[in-house]
């Protein structure tokens, strides 16, 4: 089982690498969809085993929610938002893709380094899966920084959420149920609000390039 989770966590990490090396917005959304599916898979397996062993169905329910929200609803919403806005070819990233990927590699190394002392000091073990998921959080964050367009930022935020979710899964078998539900409600609201705002931004600024939003300074 552990081996399987290891594989999945690496796959999630890989999917985020794929994400950062993408250039098109539709590709971002697709990659996010795949990553969410992977996460749903993790939740499904974990939920199944817990359901079998302890007769608790929390995580299974959450798995269903993930599939509904992250694999189906949110990508759909993002596609729709993207469809609403005028298409314009613009360079969406600040740095070259290879450099971004390299930095992301560095981030993985960094997250390994930064939590590596935890085990040695106290005998408390944080496994590789947690570190991988923490790297996903950092990469998601970095993705937000590297992309100019609003939808890219939303995707980045969602990837951070994914990373956090996987971290929670791997480290503590998920948060308490009610908290998880709350987090999902928040997330879906956030994405909807951001979606509405992207539409408005597009209307006001005639672009979804966040760089244009720099009037308020000083």
């Amino acid at each position: 089982m552990e081996f399987f989770f290891d594989l999945l966590s690496v796959l999630v990490l890989l999917s985020s690498f794929v994400l950062v090396s993408n250039k098109k917005i539709t590709a971002y959304i697709k990659t996010f969809q795949i990553q969410s599916a992977l996460i749903a898979l993790i939740a499904g397996i974990m939920g199944w085993s817990i359901a079998v062993n302890e007769d608790k169905y929390d995580i299974l329910i959450i798995c269903v929610i993930i599939i509904a929200l992250k694999v189906i609803f949110i990508p759909h919403l993002l596609y729709k938002t993207y469809g609403n806005i005028e298409y314009r070819v613009e360079k969406d990233f600040f740095m070259n893709i290879p450099i971004i990927v390299l930095i992301c590699c560095g981030l993985v190394v960094f997250s390994y380094f930064s939590v590596s002392n935890i085990g040695s000091l106290t005998g408390f073990h944080i496994n590789h899966q947690v570190v991988n998921s923490l790297s996903v959080v950092l990469i998601g964050f970095f993705f937000m920084i590297s992309r100019k367009k609003a939808i890219g930022q939303i995707i980045g935020y969602l990837v951070i959420e994914n990373g956090i979710f996987v971290t929670a899964m791997f480290s503590t078998n998920g948060m308490p149920f009610i908290v998880d539900i709350g987090i999902f409600i928040d997330m879906i609201t956030a994405v909807m609000i951001m979606g509405i705002m992207v539409t408005r931004i597009n209307k006001k600024f005639e672009s979804i390039n966040i760089d244009k939003l720099s009037k308020l300074k000083g």
Binding site: S111, S114, F141, M144, I145, K148, Q153, L213, K217, G218
Partner: protein
């Protein structure tokens, strides 16, 4: 006779002040009544205050503690403590307030229906009360609160008179004094850390020597800004002229003395002077302030700015006295320390009297002519004879000229300088002799400056319509000034009585009395002030002069007989008529000194010629002379510009408006903190 104790007198005085303020607010629709009630309340209250202070100094040497109420807020307690030093400053305050309030009754007339007079009264009384609290604060936090309230209220008073012009004045004032207050706060904190108490009257033994020196420096900065010593004097020539004249009189007369009080209270009484360099530092600051203050005053043609610079000078003189006393105390020479601090306290008192009076005089001039510019005045002595006499008295007093009070305190300062020079000590000797030179030079420059002030504005012919149409000011204004002038003369002639008062204060501070050195009693008014054999008897000099004047007049009459006196125009070199424009101007008067001391002013001049048909017949010529505010231009402005530029640069490079940059900050913070956690 319970209510005659100093504490209850002070209590009543405060209550009357408060009542006056409330009444003033109540009558805000009737400026006349409002002024009358508020100011007569102030006069009455100040009389009580003075009585309380005098009683305290002369009869009760015990320290009194008055606590109106205990605050529930931690570390804040309102406790007033009255000892001889506080009482002395309250005495000065009360005398000045009494005269200024009398003056204000007439002076405020020109604000009626233009400004909110009742608000002015409330602020004015609040200002007085805050100063009383500063002088009586028993713990450092209360002191600080009173100090800050005083600053803020005086800020409002500074900006009361007019609008945009004063923006800068008020700003510089409140900014500088607040930064000074921050240093005070640091010093108080150091005090609390070591002694676990804010009690000003407590012991400072628990504080280590280094911390004491640090506290000294902070106190010096904090109080120095308020006192207006060079180089932190720049607010003073802006703030004092901007305020209404009665307020400037209070500000210059007593508010800047709160700093002197603070220096004595905290450094001498609380910290006890341990290091000689403290005194030497103060002495140096005093020398620089005395010289530069008067030097800049010379170049001013705005009466009130001129007077403000003189405040810098006089604070310098007070600090010279204080510096000597610190040096003497640190050497264990109590008698000399006592003498020097008497000189310094007496000068504080004197400066309050004559500078208060001069600002009132400036107010009278402004009241009568609506201008503060000396160049527009002239010949006022004929329009305002009473005011002229008063201003002349104050001018003589501030120039330390003989029968007036300024001389007595400067003489004592000279004597303490004289006594501190002992063969063999290098630094102190050199600085002391330089201080004597500085004192002499500042006296002469002050005389030059006041010849200019009095000569240009009161003598000669009127230089403008304003001066031509001037009329004598109301009697209440002149009475207020008259009392001050009388005090100046009386202290100048019979200094011994006042020195006894000062001596009681000095005794309570340092435990040493110089009364053995300063002989004499009140009844024998012509008893000399005698410092180890060097003596002056101003009253004897005065009597001798009077006798000589009378005798000369009689003798001349005897020798020369009765001769006729003819009125004729001033000699005009044969031209037909002398116009007022041909007189020497204030600018012209100060020109030689402007050139001699050009390093201080960086003067510039420009001749603009409007060409006519031929170069020999220009249509008009304009000659402009200016001096530069050196400290502002070369120290403060560059500093301020640098700070602003720094702020702008940081602002625009940090808060760029780019969402990505903002995200980068958070990201960087995450990474740095993770690294910190890993390495910690």
């Amino acid at each position: 006779m319970d209510w005659l104790t100093p504490s209850s007198l002070l209590y009543w005085s405060i209550i009357i002040y408060l009542t006056a303020a409330i009444v003033a607010i109540f009558f805000y629709r009737h400026p006349h009544l409002c002024t009358l009630f508020a100011q007569s309340g102030c006069i009455f209250a100040s009389a009580l205050g003075a009585a309380s202070a005098l009683k305290m100094i002369l009869f009760d040497q015990e320290t009194l503690i008055i606590t109106p109420f205990e605050s529930t807020v931690p570390f804040i307690s309102i406790s007033m403590t009255l000892d001889a030093l506080s009482a002395f400053f309250i005495l000065i305050l009360s005398i000045l307030v009494c005269c200024v309030s009398l003056y204000s009754i007439g002076y405020l007339k020109h604000y009626y229906n233009k400004r909110n007079v009742s608000a002015f009264h409330a602020l004015y009384i609040g200002f007085i009360l805050s100063m009383i609290f500063v002088f009586t604060a028993g713990n450092a936090v209360f002191f600080f609160i009173a100090w800050e309230i005083m600053t803020v209220i005086s800020y409002f008073l500074v900006v009361f008179e007019s609008e945009d012009v004063n923006e800068k004045a008020g700003l510089i004032y409140i900014v500088m004094t607040h930064i000074g207050a921050a240093f005070l706060m640091i010093a108080f904190m150091i005090m609390f850390v070591y002694t676990k108490s804010f009690d000003i009257f407590g012991s400072s033994e628990a504080i280590p020597a280094t911390a004491k020196s640090l506290m000294f420096v902070f106190f010096l900065i904090g109080f120095g800004v308020k006192a207006g010593v060079v180089p932190v004097h720049v607010w003073l020539p802006y703030a004092h002229p901007a305020a209404p004249s009665n307020v400037s009189a209070l500000m210059s007369g007593i508010m800047i003395k709160t700093a002197i009080y603070g220096l004595i209270r905290f450094i001498l009484c609380y910290l006890n002077v341990h290091n000689t360099w403290w005194g030497i530092l103060i002495l140096c600051i005093g020398i620089v302030s005395a010289i530069l203050g008067v030097a800049y005053a010379l170049m001013e043609h705005n009466i009130k700015r001129l007077l403000a610079f003189h405040s810098v000078e006089n604070i310098g003189i007070i600090l010279i006295g204080l510096g000597i006393s610190f040096v003497a105390f640190s050497q264990g020479n109590g008698i000399l320390g006592g003498l020097a601090i008497s000189a310094s306290l007496l000068h504080t008192f004197n400066h309050t009297l004559f500078k208060g009076g001069l600002f009132l005089g400036a107010g009278s001039i402004q009241y009568a002519t609506h201008t503060k510019d000396i160049e527009k005045l002239g010949g006022l002595i004929k329009k305002m004879p009473v005011t002229a006499v008063m201003v002349l008295c104050f001018s003589l007093a501030i120039s330390a000229i003989v029968p007036f009070n300024g001389f007595v305190s400067e003489w004592l300062t000279y004597q303490s300088l004289f006594s501190i020079i002992i063969p063999g000590q290098t630094g102190i000797n050199i600085i002391s002799i330089l201080a004597a030179a500085a004192l002499a030079m500042s006296g002469a420059l002050a005389a030059a400056c006041f010849v200019k002030l009095f000569g240009i504005s009161f003598l000669g012919k009127a230089r403008s319509e304003c001066a031509l149409n001037a009329a004598e000011v109301p009697a209440s204004m002149n009475t207020g000034m008259g009392i001050l002038a009388l005090f100046c003369l009386v202290i100048g002639l019979f200094p011994v009585f006042f020195l006894k008062v000062v001596d009681k204060v000095v005794f309570s501070i340092s435990g040493t009395t110089v009364i053995g050195e300063l002989q004499g009693g009140f009844l024998i008014a012509w008893y000399p002030i005698n410092v180890s054999g060097n003596a002056i008897t101003p009253s004897a000099i005065f009597i001798a002069s009077a006798v000589i004047i009378l005798a000369t007049a009689a003798l001349i009459r005897l020798v020369g007989g009765k001769v006729s006196e003819r009125k004729y125009g001033t000699w005009d070199c044969g031209f037909r008529e002398l116009t007022p424009r041909m007189q020497y101007t204030a600018t012209g008067f100060s020109k030689p000194l402007r050139i001699v001391l050009r390093i201080l002013y960086k003067p510039g001049r420009m001749l603009e010629t409007e060409k006519g048909d031929s170069s020999y017949f220009p249509l008009s010529k304009k000659y402009r002379v200016w001096t530069e505010p050196v400290f502002e231009k070369y120290v403060y402005d560059p500093f301020l510009t640098a700070v602003k530029r720094f702020s702008l640069r940081i602002k625009l490079s940090v808060q760029t408006g780019s969402t990505h940059a903002y995200l980068v900050y958070i990201f960087a913070a995450v990474l740095v903190l993770m690294l910190y956690n890993r390495l910690a």
